[in-house]
């Protein structure tokens, strides 16, 4: 494998070989020398009096916006993919099925290709911040310098581990597999710390903890452990998995659409399923992490919380609801397509449940998107008796939205359970009782969630937030953690009535995967904008005011146009990176006689373990 990599030429070799080393050393050196230049005396004193610099045309704030967004999206991808790539490798190691190992390697190939570009944008961002916002960067350097050093060391460790993990993949098979898995674990540990260190810089800007006394390390530590640091860490950890999963799913979706052979279609159909599965399961946990973050923001500063959800950013959360709703619909739609096209013969029996779920999702989305205050003329407002519609205004408050969000999570989870059980018949003696219990629990959970939501209208806000909403979340979590193992046990002894076939999904399945990825990328851009704007005219809230020409937050339309631009640029960027990374594959995969067999063969009728393939199916292969 090492010899194969060395034979790659052009851009591919640059991204995989020397070019990346040069880039990463450049970034490392920039980190180390920057404080020297920042604090050198003499001629630097005059430079220190410059608070801001500007870029004509685009403006410094917009330039930083684009570069930071690209860096964050790429970083989210390269930090999220190792998590599920490693898990996929473990599944392959445990089940002894090589297709999981090959899938894990394919995930890692995408990650490795994107890694250099992530570092590149990080370096560009650093230079631009230092040059355009010297006042802010001098202050942050003063507070966080010890963590800058830690970050550089982590970066080196992560890079070295990734090199070993990727380049040593084929060499560390057999007896050395456990060591390779250990490297994967190390990679994820370093990736986690690489994420949480810069998270502290960003969260410090929103919820600063400024300690005047103490050593540099003590001050940096106090600033690091600020009120919104851990909620952001948890939220971003889960979101990175979701982003990575859906981007890999979109990659597979596009490859599926472009596949020249049936073998490649089967492979990318399966990869698309796995990517969507990872994205969906991460997505189920994400609203809870976001809710915790919002609570901590309110706890830290009520005004910031109200600015976000009741002030000028309130309509942003309607857009967020719309994007999440489309994402839930897209993810569910992909599962339903899978039931119809991968398991021929079962379509009719799932038509009614799918229709019911679609109606529930659409109603839930409509409620979630309903604003509290309507856009109305004076005459219309007079007729309504105010800015709130007498009927629809009821749905514009958090009690309704928390209820439907939890219901949408439940429906999505049930789509997956339905897909998992499709084409199988349970043979366990207690299967009927188990299914009745599960059905009853599901209905009770739905009723309880709605009842708690309705009750929330009649209690004080703090009681609703701290008791009722938490109860709704716990009900959903209970369903998730009980149904999953129960279904796994039920299906262990199930017999397959309808074989699963891969590579037969319609074209719209590929588009659906692309849509899901675009929604996630847009959501990350949108919520990043929300977090930055919640600081309003402060660089560091309550500590350092923004006195530049850009000390305002633009209107939502302008911001959304920028988010769309960032999303499009990112899609082009990753398309280019993935295209370059897989140039070698295309060369190997095609001969003059026609396409070679794909390196990953998925036997017809076999479902991957992640979809809960039955033991009997596995036995048939071996």
């Amino acid at each position: 494998m090492n010899r194969q990599i060395q034979q790659e030429n052009g851009w591919s070799a640059f991204f995989h070989g020397k070019g990346r080393s040069i880039l990463q050393w450049a970034v490392f050196i920039a980190f180390l020398v920057f404080p020297y230049f920042a604090f050198a005396g003499g001629a630097a004193t005059e430079a220190m009096s410059v608070e801001y610099r500007d870029i004509p045309g685009i403006g410094s704030r917009n330039l930083i916006w684009v570069i930071a967004q690209q860096h964050l999206l790429l970083a989210g991808f390269v930090l999220g993919v190792p998590i599920f790539a490693w898990v996929c490798e473990i599944v392959g190691w445990k089940t002894k099925e090589p297709r999981y190992d090959k899938l894990a390697k394919e995930f890692t190939k995408l990650l490795t290709s994107a890694y250099a570009t992530t570092a590149l944008f990080g370096g560009i961002l650093l230079f631009m911040l230092v040059g355009l916002y010297p006042k802010l960067m001098a202050y942050l350097s003063d507070v966080f310098f010890p963590s800058f050093v830690v970050y550089c060391v982590l970066f080196l460790l992560e890079t070295a581990t990734l090199y070993l993990y990727w380049y040593g993949w084929d060499a560390m098979q057999g007896n050395k597999k456990t060591f390779h898995l250990f490297l994967g674990l190390l990679l994820n540990v370093f990736a986690f710390f690489i994420m949480i260190v810069p998270n502290s810089w960003a969260t410090f800007q929103a919820s600063p903890v400024v300690v005047a006394e103490g050593t540099a390390i003590q001050r940096a530590w106090a600033a690091t452990w600020n009120p919104t640091w851990w909620p952001i860490n948890v939220h971003r950890l889960i979101a990175n998995v979701v982003l990575g999963g859906f981007i890999c799913g979109a990659y597979a979706g596009v490859r599926y659409l472009l596949a020249p052979s049936q073998e490649e279609r089967e492979h990318y159909d399966w990869m698309g399923y796995v990517g969507n599965f990872i994205g969906v399961f991460g997505m189920l946990a994400l609203p809870f992490a976001g809710y915790w973050l919002m609570r901590e923001i309110y706890q830290y500063n009520q005004q910031m919380g109200i600015t976000l959800m009741g002030g000028f950013l309130a309509w942003l959360f309607i857009l967020q609801a719309m994007l999440i709703g489309v994402l839930f619909l897209g993810a569910n739609y992909y599962f339903w397509l899978g039931i119809n096209y991968r398991i021929p013969g079962v379509e009719q029996s799932y038509k009614k449940p799918i229709m019911t779920m679609l109606v529930v999702l659409l109603l839930a989305l409509a409620v979630w998107m309903t604003p509290h205050s309507l856009v109305a003329s004076l005459e219309e407002a007079r007729k309504m008796g105010g800015a709130h519609h007498p009927l629809l205004g009821v749905f514009g408050v958090m009690s309704a939205k928390m209820t439907v969000a939890n219901l949408m999570i439940l429906v999505t989870f049930m789509s997956f359970i339905m897909y998992w059980r499709a084409g199988k018949q349970e043979t366990a003696t207690w299967a009927k009782v188990a299914k009745v219990l599960m059905g009853s629990a599901l209905v009770l959970a739905g009723v309880a969630i709605i009842a708690l939501g309705v009750y929330g209208y009649f209690v004080p806000a703090l009681y609703r937030i701290n008791v009722l909403s938490v109860s709704q979340v716990l009900i959903v979590v209970f369903i998730l953690v009980t149904f999953t193992p129960l279904t796994a046990v039920l299906l262990k002894s199930a017999k397959t009535t309808h074989e699963m076939v891969w590579g037969k999904m319609p074209i719209r399945a590929g588009y659906s995967l692309v849509l899901n990825a675009v929604m996630v990328i847009l959501l990350m851009s949108l919520m990043g904008y929300a977090r930055s704007s919640s600081r309003v005219h402060w660089h560091i809230y309550g500590v350092m005011r923004d006195t530049s020409d850009y000390a305002y937050s633009p209107a939502l339309g302008y911001a959304a146009a920028f988010m769309s631009l960032n999303t499009f640029l990112f899609c082009l960027l990753v398309s280019f990176i993935f295209y370059v990374a897989t140039m070698g594959d295309k060369g190997k995969g095609h001969t003059k006689e026609g396409p070679r067999e794909s390196s990953v063969k998925i036997p017809v009728g076999v479902e991957p373990a992640m979809a809960g393939g039955s033991a009997s199916a596995s036995e048939r292969i071996h």
């Binding site: 659409l257 806000a461 703090l462 847009l522 005219h537 500590v543 939502l556 339309g557 959304a560």
Partner: protein
């Protein structure tokens, strides 16, 4: 052409381009690009359709003492500050609101003394309001009144007095803020007189100095 109209035009062009790609181009990858372009253009158009609100930094206003001749002048300045720099209206309502987390300030100038309001704004933790409807053991997640005299709001003493004047005038009370207090540049040593709990139905707890403990009175 306004910025919104220009952006809407661009959004329509972008969506139109995507539609043309899907209609006339056969290359699958380009068709996927066209699809993405339609989605992004549609998102932008929807975002341009909701109320457009920019957040501007508050205007730096100087408190011109020369312009303050009467208590009513002070109340007028206070009203301006209440709805702008003070950010009071962000959390408080004037009039009943079932979903409010902060006290309704209607009539507050008649219910509370000048000294108590001043202390509530500058030292909200002196008498801690964990939940303005709550009575009993302190809750884990209390509502918190920010320090109005500190960043990020940082009202000056004169500005705080002007807000108090506004609250008193709004409540139909004579304004008790004296011009000497407004003109006095020295830091204030206002002491709070004992307050009747039942007059405004608020639970009181007292902070134990030098600790995070809250003692229920």
């Amino acid at each position: 052409m306004s910025e919104v109209a220009l952006l809407q035009l661009i959004g329509l062009i972008v969506v139109g381009l995507g539609v043309l790609i899907l209609l006339f181009l056969k290359s699958m990858f380009i068709r996927v690009v066209g699809f993405v372009v339609i989605v992004l253009g549609t998102f932008s158009l929807i975002a341009l359709g909701v109320p457009q609100m920019a957040s501007l930094p508050p205007a730096v206003e100087t408190f011109d003492l020369a312009k303050v001749k009467t208590p009513d002048d002070l109340a007028a300045i206070g009203q301006k500050i209440f709805f702008s720099k003070g950010q009071c209206a962000l959390c408080h309502s004037i009039g009943p609101s079932a979903s409010a987390r902060c006290p309704d300030l209607k009539g507050i100038g008649a219910k509370l003394t000048k000294e108590f309001i001043y202390e509530s704004l500058t030292q909200p933790q002196a008498y801690i309001y964990l939940d303005f409807r709550h009575e009993g053991v302190p809750k884990e997640y209390p509502a918190r009144m920010p320090y109005i005299s500190r960043n990020p709001i940082a009202l000056t003493k004169q500005e705080i007095y002007s807000v108090i004047s506004f609250l008193q005038k709004m409540s139909g009370e004579p304004i008790s803020v004296k011009m000497e207090e407004v003109l006095d540049q020295k830091p204030d040593n206002l002491k709070v007189a004992s307050v009747n709990i039942s007059s405004h139905g608020l639970a009181h707890q007292k902070a134990v100095p030098g600790s995070d403990l809250i003692v229920h009175e």
